[in-house]
Amino acid sequence: MTGAGLQSLEALASAIPNGASVAIPPDYSFVAMAATRALIRRGARQLQLLAVPQSGIQADLLIGAGCVESIECAAVTLGELGPAPRFSAAVSSGRVAIKDSTCPAIHAALQASEKGLPFLPSRGIIGSDLLKVRTEWRVIDNPFPPHDPIVALPALKPDVALFHAPFADRRGNIWIGRRRELVTMAHAATRTFVTVEEVRDLDLMDDETLAAGALPSLYVSVIAEAKNGAWPLGLAGFYEADDAALRRYAELASSEAGFARYLGEVLGARQAAE
């Protein structure tokens, strides 16, 4: 790749400052797990996570490792493997502040930033206690008939969007396929950091079929290569999730001591590769 965008995984992790608000995708959508481990290795602190709109092992790991000050999300869960233990413990104890939300509210608030708008209206929500605890959300009058009440969601503008993708081209365009929440994240965020399986010597924009799944380099600040960078999660269409590794996480993370053991096992073992 030409240009200054390509950096090492460590450099990428170091460029995400402590205290940054960081938007992350859901477990089924191109999660930057290698970068997550690099953030833990560098001892990131006080991150303000924004799950778009939910997270799983990524948020749980960062929370367990003490990297997180607050999280805004519609949910954090390990799916079929049960609740996210470090998330549940940290939020119940108040150690990590939570801004409870609902999936479409997070999508809409990012679209507000994408459009440079102060807010986007949203259907639903009225009557939910979310409206009580999210005191910054407003109910306004729909200015058109039937002039019904409608929720106005203030724009969310993350400092950083962070995800993993199958590949970048030599100009720094990223192939994201149909994972278009990544496009919204990148448009909304001030800076976008991407790890990729590989940099390919081609131009995504030369081929309309590939271009259809491309995020233009215009929105991308830093790219780092990370083979199997979504592990132990999968990368849809490229590799499956590592079921045993996820189960191992769910087992160990259920206690603080177990979580520490997991970190020791995984950070050490994968450091060479990453």
């Binding site: 778009v52 519609a74 929500i125 009557g127 939910s128």
Partner: protein, 246 residues
């Protein structure tokens, strides 16, 4: 002799019956039984019912990112959806956030997901919770992730249609904002339902018994339905066939 069936199979067929005539069923996170029910309804409709399963590649044609499910529902293109709940109360309110006084919860659940939106917009929302106990079915939820009904004037084309648990099937009466017991599952009685339900509800003079799946339906569940659900819920699919049928 009637065929032997599992609890899961009874619940799948019970939920599937509620999906009749729905053109497009969407299935959210952590929903193996509702997902299986959607595939069963699809099989009954000769494949004409569209089923979209979150997290699936084979049964998810969305190409506009995570927001498409919600936009699609707001467009009126999703006829049925499922919600669970750590707590469900007698007015159809659901709690997916936690137990206790927010934010200092005694027990934290994963979170509200899309409930605070889809519950308003999908015409036929089916509440599904296998555990049927006073702990889950409460007089009033600790936290309203999504309300069962809305004040007049609030845009709300959607809402609760029915509640399926491991013990019974309830319908929801939007006018009375109450559940009504429709049928008790085999082995349960009106009294056992009353005893295990924390909220008040209407019941008919003689509640029906939930009709078990017949041989043909069981073959569908153990064949194409199991194959379809295995993609997203492999552990659940592995448990779906009773040992004696293996």
């Amino acid at each position: 002799m009637p065929p032997r069936f599992s609890q899961a199979e009874l619940l799948i067929v019970t939920v599937a019956r509620l999906l009749e005539g729905v053109e497009h069923v969407a299935v959210g996170a952590s929903s193996p039984i509702p997902g299986s029910a959607a595939f069963l309804a699809q099989a009954w409709a000769g494949g004409e019912t569209r089923v979209t399963v979150l997290g699936s590649r084979r049964n998810n044609d969305f190409t506009d990112g995570g927001r498409e499910l919600f936009d699609c529902a707001a467009q009126g293109r999703i006829g049925a959806f499922f919600l669970g709940g750590g707590q469900i109360d007698g007015r159809g309110n659901v709690n997916l956030v936690g137990l206790g006084h927010y934010p200092n919860l005694d027990v934290r659940f994963p979170g509200s997901f899309g409930s605070a939106y889809l519950y308003f917009l999908v015409p036929r929302v089916i509440l599904f919770r296998e555990e049927h106990s006073p702990r889950v079915l409460v007089p009033q939820v600790d936290f309203i992730s999504a309300p069962g009904t809305s004040a007049p004037g609030v845009h709300r084309p959607g809402g609760p249609h029915a509640l399926v648990t491991g013990r019974a099937l309830f319908s929801f009466d939007k006018t009375r904002t109450r559940f009504r017991l429709e049928s008790v599952h085999p082995g349960e009685t009106p009294a056992s339902i009353r005893a295990t339900t924390g909220f008040d509800y209407d019941d008919p003079a003689t509640p029906a018994t939930t009709i078990p799946p017949d041989e043909k339906t069981l073959a569908l569940i153990r064949g194409p339905v199991r194959a379809a659900i295995a993609e997203v819920y492999p552990r659940f699919a592995a448990r779906l066939v009773p040992p004696e049928a293996a």
